[in-house]
């Protein structure tokens, strides 16, 4: 457990009153983000992301799967959030479990709402075969604001994921899929619609974006919003007493910041690939 003394908390609250945070950031400012893609050669897509002290690693595996139940989806997404031993050393068993299932649920819900992979190119045999994207998220270090780090890393990992071309051979009513072995015959996923989370902690009477672990410990509430590039809301979860008036103000900030954030991430990936 992260420990904060009363005096530290008091100083933190006072400093936030003045519009600054203990690491010098403004209230609505992210910590520096470091990003690396293609870190795992054996995965179809991968990324490593560091947000302040929080570090996550995401690997995406692409498979073809049977459609479960009647559904016309081209893509099924499977998320797992796992805490590596080093990060979970401070967590207690069951809490770590509920914590990771909460992250997982929020991510699922946001991706489902955003309908990210509504892409004709990804169509296989509707109602029979679909793509299975297995997104495994490994938390290497916990330094606050896990949600945002995970959603950013997931989006970047998906954006670099290569999907092999598939030829559908129809014979006697049954379908066979031939996967192109040629490593060049791959398409990159389009993730424009993928949302990202923006998380605020409510400290004193102020909301701060991208809380550090210390700020999270001192917070009395949280607001986590998933937005896509258009500024549409894909998921919201908040707790702790907050003013309704504050909410609309935050939403405009979220819309603006979200857009910048997504742009920055895409730029970084693009630069990384070209170099």
């Amino acid at each position: 457990m992260y420990a904060v003394s009363k005096a530290e908390k008091a100083y933190l609250l006072d400093t936030i009153e003045t519009g600054t945070r203990l690491d010098g950031r403004q209230l609505f400012e992210y910590r520096p983000i470091s990003l690396q893609v293609g870190v795992l050669p054996s995965a179809s897509g991968s990324s490593r992301l560091r947000l302040g002290e929080t570090e996550v690693l995401v690997g995406v595996k692409v498979e073809v799967g049977d459609v479960v139940e009647s559904s016309n989806d081209n893509v099924q997404l499977l998320f797992t959030v796992e805490c590596s031993g080093s990060a979970s050393a401070d967590f207690l068993g069951r809490e770590a479990e509920s914590w990771s299932s909460e992250l997982q649920n929020a991510l699922e819900s946001a991706y489902r709402a955003a309908n990210v992979f509504d892409d004709e190119r990804l169509s296989l045999v509707p109602g029979k075969f679909c793509w299975l994207f297995k997104v495994d998220i490994l938390v290497l270090d916990t330094g606050g604001n896990m949600m945002d780090a995970i959603s950013m890393a997931t989006r970047t990992a998906l954006s670099t994921t290569l999907v092999p071309r598939v030829h559908i051979v129809q014979s006697e009513g049954s379908f066979e899929l031939e996967i192109d072995d040629n490593p060049d015959a791959c398409d990159t996923l389009k993730v424009e619609k993928a949302p990202t989370f923006l998380t605020f902690s409510l400290i004193g009477n102020h909301f701060v974006l991208d809380p550090s672990i210390q700020e999270e410990t001192c917070a009395r509430g949280k607001l986590s919003v998933a937005v896509d590039a258009n500024g549409d809301i894909c998921h919201v979860y908040s707790f702790g007493l907050l003013d309704a008036v504050e909410l609309s103000r935050l939403l405009t900030i979220i819309k603006k910041t979200g857009k910048v954030l997504l742009n920055r991430l895409d730029e970084c990936v693009k630069n990384g690939e070209s170099s």
Binding site: L40, P41, S42, A43, S46, E53, E55, L57, G59, V60, K61, E63, T80, E82, S84, G85, S86, A89, K134, D136, L138, L140, D141, G143
Partner: protein
């Protein structure tokens, strides 16, 4: 099932190495600032992250010497077939316990009574010789954490296939089920710390495997020692550099 040959007529292996050649080893230390020691070790395509916490307070239990705990897990994306290497599955438990026992003897545990050291090993990518990679990574992480130990433990695997003994097996070579040995030795005394032989081998082959694995260990040691040295000298230079400046100012 016919397999493609593992050793080409020129005596080269599937990944282009010679039989007695280890893969490229790179390691980075101190990558997780919150841990006492950490090491990101790449042996070819095998990537292992080892983290060490401690020695730190051991709650409520009395013990005359330090206690070591170890956890080994494989990330779900580590191998080609996506499988979840749970921390609690039998192989991971066995691996963790074997690594724990290896380091119990080399750490000077009587120097930190009533304390514990936690080792966490995360395999990020598995391309053969995970056990060796894990042991090497933990050694470096221990050095990084400044925990006193008798010696460096270095590890390497060796296998026998197609009448050739090769060292530092990759995944393709590992699944052949031929005789293969993972050996860990104390670097300076060359005494055996840990050894695991998989699949049967005649006495002669076994002897040969041990000799080759030992050679591999020593090659590994050179790489590890020099990266520890480089890393440490970097830090020392950095610290002393500005210190002298400070005192002059």
């Amino acid at each position: 099932m016919p397999r493609e040959e593992l050793i080409s007529p020129d005596g080269l292996r599937t990944d282009g190495r010679r039989p007695l050649e280890i893969r490229k080893v790179t390691c980075r230390m101190g990558i997780l600032p919150r841990a006492d020691g950490s090491c990101h070790l790449e042996m070819g395509n095998t990537i292992v992250l080892a983290t060490v916490y401690g020695p730190r307070e051991l709650s409520s239990r009395q013990s005359s010497c330090g206690i070591i705990r170890c956890e080994y897990s494989m990330a779900s994306f580590a191998s080609t077939d996506r499988r979840r290497g749970k921390r609690s599955d039998r192989n991971s438990v066995e691996m963790a316990s074997s690594i724990k026992k290896t380091f119990e003897n080399v750490l000077l545990t009587d120097l930190f009574p009533k304390s514990r050291v936690d080792i966490f090993i995360q395999v990020l990518q598995a391309d053969g010789s995970e056990r060796s990679a894990a042991i090497n990574a933990v050694t470096i992480a221990m050095v990084n954490a400044g925990i006193p130990m008798k010696d460096l433990i270095v590890s390497c695997s060796a296998g026998y296939m197609e009448n050739t003994t090769v060292m530092d097996l990759n995944h393709v070579e590992m699944i052949t089920r031929g005789p293969q040995l993972t050996l860990a030795i104390y670097a300076s005394t060359e005494r055996m710390a840990t050894a695991h032989l998989e699949s049967k081998a005649s006495f002669e082959i076994f002897e040969n495997l041990i000799a080759i694995a030992k050679k591999g260990c020593l090659q590994m040691f050179d790489v590890m020692h020099s990266s520890i040295e480089r890393y440490s000298l970097n830090l020392i230079a950095s610290r002393d550099h500005i210190a002298t400046f400070g005192s002059r100012a």
